[in-house]
């Protein structure tokens, strides 16, 4: 068995556009990862709870509603509040460049805009998951 990279793909806020999140979730699945997909309209508490209970390596937030500056800080707060504020977080969606910088100052590691190759995201997640959590050399019992 051994270890698998576990990723949370969440869609916070009042935003019905889940095509991007689904494309990414599927690409990650096809890259051999275990993707916990939460579906639409998640509150920051729900996102943080899912990240905690599922013990994910990386959290991905898909936001196309323009509400990222309101939602992301609250999600980062809820994660920190639960003692998992150091989880790697990335954001996908439509985010202006100056705001992407602000998100990164809040602790978001990457912001992926429209047209991003899913391979770029996969590479990022593999790196982020490797830098955090436990090493991949775990020896499973028979």
């Amino acid at each position: 068995m051994g270890r698998k990279i576990r990723v949370l793909i969440a869609k916070p806020g009042l935003d019905g556009h889940d095509r991007g999140a689904k494309v990414v979730a599927r690409a990650l699945r096809d890259a051999g990862m275990e993707v916990i997909y939460t579906g639409l309209r998640q509150t920051p508490v729900m996102v943080a709870e899912a990240a905690l209970q599922e013990d994910v390596d990386v959290v991905g937030l898909s936001i196309l509603s323009g509400a990222h500056m309101a939602l992301v800080p609250r999600i980062m707060e809820e994660l920190a509040h639960r003692g998992i504020g150091d989880l790697p977080v990335f954001v996908g969606g439509i985010v202006p460049q100056d705001e992407a910088l602000l998100l990164k100052q809040m602790g978001v590691q990457e912001v992926f805009g429209p047209g991003t190759d899913t391979r770029t995201i996969i590479t990022y997640i593999r790196k982020a998951a490797g830098s955090g959590s436990f090493d991949a050399t775990t020896q499973p019992l028979p």
Binding site: M1, V35, L52, G83, F134, P140, L141, P142
Partner: protein
């Protein structure tokens, strides 16, 4: 900031923190156990004395009958009656990429705001029985942590995914109208392991036919289920047959009538009938306890588990003492027709026994 617990790999530390209610530690522990990490096994050994208290309820049924939605509602209803609850939801791993999309949380949003509910998604990771190989260990951890009810949702299952019957105390089979005719019901498998049957989406017009087909199939099953076919105690679960005389005699207790599998109509989406589902699940637990089956189930499971581990260890002994080289040589001999397969294997058993006698295994490392 709190130190990053996800870096913690110490099974005993995590077990201690988890027992104190640290949910990060619980989540981390479940990961170790799921990955078959040696520290997970150490934690399990530490926690095991605390287990055996939870009511483990399995939910199975075909893809699309509404298992996740029903589990969500059942959990909410259960929470009115118990102080805390855990859900383990298994989804399939792709045999091609090894990845998985775990989407059961999608339909469990009513539980997300309840800190007394712990939901964990698992990928089946190639295990064919409808639950993952490590599902039992994950449930064991949650049991030790004092969750009085643990709901286990299987992979959208077909007819032979009956592993859940060896894990759960109560198996809920979820059906939906229009999923097949009465011939489907006659086929072996899921029907035989059900303790409670739920016809979900019962607001649909075809629900009536589904109900009557299920009733007929159950009546039929009472006459035909051979004791010990799927589950050693199957005879005790067989429902009484109306007007057919006494069913199979329960072994445990004379005065407790055999469990009659109830068929409950519900619409998880609209939220009705769910209290009746929970009533039926609870009644089944009371029945198990009254008929002394609770204890005999645990005994049976313990035997299965010890036997399972024994097999794994014997497998390791074979690998270490006999090795692939000797196995290959034996295969060559069989291909040359010098020796038949069974005799070749018996010679290897002698090699194994000799290896154990000589104490060579100690040099090869302990189990």
């Amino acid at each position: 900031m709190t130190p990053r617990l996800s870096r913690c790999l110490d099974g005993l530390t995590l077990a201690g923190l988890a027992l104190e209610g640290d949910r990060r530690a619980i989540a981390r522990l479940l990961t170790l156990v799921e990955n078959g990490h040696p520290e997970g096994q150490i934690a399990l050994a530490r926690l095991f004395s605390q287990t055996g208290r939870a009511h483990i309820v399995g939910f199975t049924g075909s893809t699309g009958v509404g298992k996740s939605t029903l589990v969500n509602r059942v959990a909410v209803e259960f929470r009115q009656r118990v102080p805390s609850l855990a859900v383990v939801a298994v989804d399939p791993t792709s045999p091609f990429s090894g990845g998985a999309l775990l989407g059961d949380r999608l339909r469990m949003r009513d539980l997300m705001d309840d800190p007394a509910v712990f939901i964990r998604s698992m990928a089946s990771r190639g295990h064919p029985g409808g639950i993952a190989h490590a599902t039992r260990d994950v449930v064991t951890v949650l049991d030790a942590l004092g969750y009085p009810v643990i709901l286990v949702e299987t992979v959208g299952a077909g007819q032979v995914q009956v592993d859940i019957a060896r894990l759960a105390h109560t198996v809920v089979l979820v059906e939906a109208p229009g999923m097949g005719d009465d011939v489907q019901m006659l086929k072996a498998g899921l029907m035989e392991i059900a303790d409670v049957i739920v016809v979900n989406k019962a607001d649909r017009p075809e629900a009536r036919q589904t109900m009557s087909a299920l009733r007929a199939a159950l009546r039929e099953a009472t006459r035909t289920v051979p004791a010990g076919a799927v589950r050693p105690l199957a005879a005790e679960y067989a429902p009484p047959t109306a007007g057919q005389g006494p069913g199979p005699t329960p072994q445990a207790s004379e005065e407790v009538a055999p469990w009659a599998v109830p068929i409950v109509e519900a619409s998880a989406l609209e939220g009705w009938g769910v209290d009746a589902v929970v009533d039926a699940i609870t009644a089944h637990r009371h029945h198990l306890e009254a008929a002394n089956t609770w204890q005999s189930l645990h005994l049976q499971r313990a035997q299965d588990e010890v036997a399972g581990w024994l097999q794994r260890y014997v497998q390791i002994l074979v690998e270490r003492c006999v090795g692939t080289e000797r196995l290959g040589a034996a295969a060559d001999a069989v291909v040359r027709r010098d020796c038949d397969p069974a005799s070749a294997a018996r010679e290897l058993v002698d090699v194994l026994l000799e290896c154990l006698r000589s104490g060579e295994l100690d040099r090869a490392g302990t189990l």
